[in-house]
Amino acid sequence: MRDAIEWALTIVVLLGALPLVAGCYQFGLAGLHRFRRRTSGALDGEPRVAVVIPAWNEAAVIGRTIDRLVGLDYPAERLRVYVVDDASTDVTPDVVRAKAGEHPGRVFHLRREVGGQGKAHTLNHGLRQIRAEGWFEAVLITDADVIFTALSLRRMTRHLGDATVGAVTAYIKEGSRPSNALNRFVAFEYISAQAGARRAQNVLGAQACLAGGAQLLRRESLEAIGGLIDTSSLAEDTFTTFDVQLAGWRVVFEPHAIVWAEEPRDMAGLWKQRLRWGRGNVQVTMHYRRNWLRGRRIGRLGGASFALIWFSVLLMPLLMTAASAALVILYVLDREASIDAFRGLWALNLVTYLFITLSSFALDPEAARRSWREAIMFPGAISLAIIVVAAVPGLADDLPDALLLFTYVWLSASMLAAYLVRRLEATRCGWAARPLLYLVGYGPLLCAITAAAYLQEVRGREMAWEKTQKTGAVGDLA
């Protein structure tokens, strides 16, 4: 009986490695991207693209964004920009009207007099107008702060030459200049979450999410999902992505179509943004619950590989907490067995850490060079020390019991520590939050936000579209 319990606990500990296995799997697939990449296809000239930008009090950024869009390397007569002004109370309407005057027939100001319902409602106001005009062959949904590089739209639209492709997304990079430590953590995170994971999803044939700031939809695929964006959740971009694929279209990530976005400069802003994303992902998981693991009947979205990738991220806080608790119980039952399980888990952690960190330098050398310190410190100094303890033979055996237990508990306690660091930022000792983030780790901070998203969803807290404040900090990066 005791042996069975120990085995069961060891399995729970090793299940904590599931996100690590999924991470390695994704980066392995990313290396195979060249074999699945299809860029051929006949386009009878560039499609007519209507760009839709939802905007609420975006005066700091919207003028420049419009300038960059109309200046893209794309036929001028085939590109229109529609700014949907969600009852802005600043000078956004004046800025957009001025741009519409500078570029007649190319820039349009659509005004909602009663706003505040959120991004999806704002987008739908624009989509109704554009569909009624009937001019467009593809629609590009973006954000007011997103800066497209000159060839990015051409790189995206050429995928529409393949008649099976319904939507294309781009590689969104963190573009704040000068960047602070948090911006650099985000920059590194985006290498793995976008340049790595989305390449892997191209190889799998199923994309988890069109990046909210760069969603190019073929007209037919937009019509196939009803012509409008889902308004029932906080993850309208992920709903669009799933719906387009469930309607039988392919969704493709173009890693060389680079767009720059301004990301939060403090943990409070990051927390707010990612909590929205996290809650959105929980909502997506529940909404599409009949599609998981249903095999090819519903296309690649129903595959085991896609489920592994999706749930390993979603369940990470639960798996980490369960592994932590199992290690402590195992310690009480059999100290040696607990050390073996601990070493196994952290050995996988070491391999994953090395593989993902080194791969990131291969995937995006420019961003990785800029954020190399944050790449190394992504798991946090404490977790790195634990990796060393687990990897060096004999070290774990010689650890005092209190320290050994600390390493077991840290798997879950790191999330609580990250939460406390975020709270510290708002106090008089806020100056200590950034150094402590390097100690605790950015990864645990993301896990803590996911855990907080669960709690808010379970409590049924009201959904509010809390906009991330943009300041126009994106540098001249095109």
Binding site: F27, G28, A30, G31, L32, H33, R34, F35, R37, T39, D73, L151, R154, R155, R158, H256, V351, L354, F355, L358, S359, A362, L363, A391, P393
Partner: protein, 37 residues
């Protein structure tokens, strides 16, 4: 544009070899740790 697209494809081809090299280096590292351990 054609030149840029060719550069994109070259990058993707090179990425395969880079990832393979990284995998081999990590595999060698794991074997070394296992042997020393």
């Amino acid at each position: 544009m054609t030149g840029e697209l060719e550069a994109d494809e070259r990058f993707e081809r090179a990425l395969f070899w880079r990832e393979l090299a990284i995998l081999l280096v990590i595999a060698a590292f794991v074997v070394a740790i296992a042997v020393l351990g």
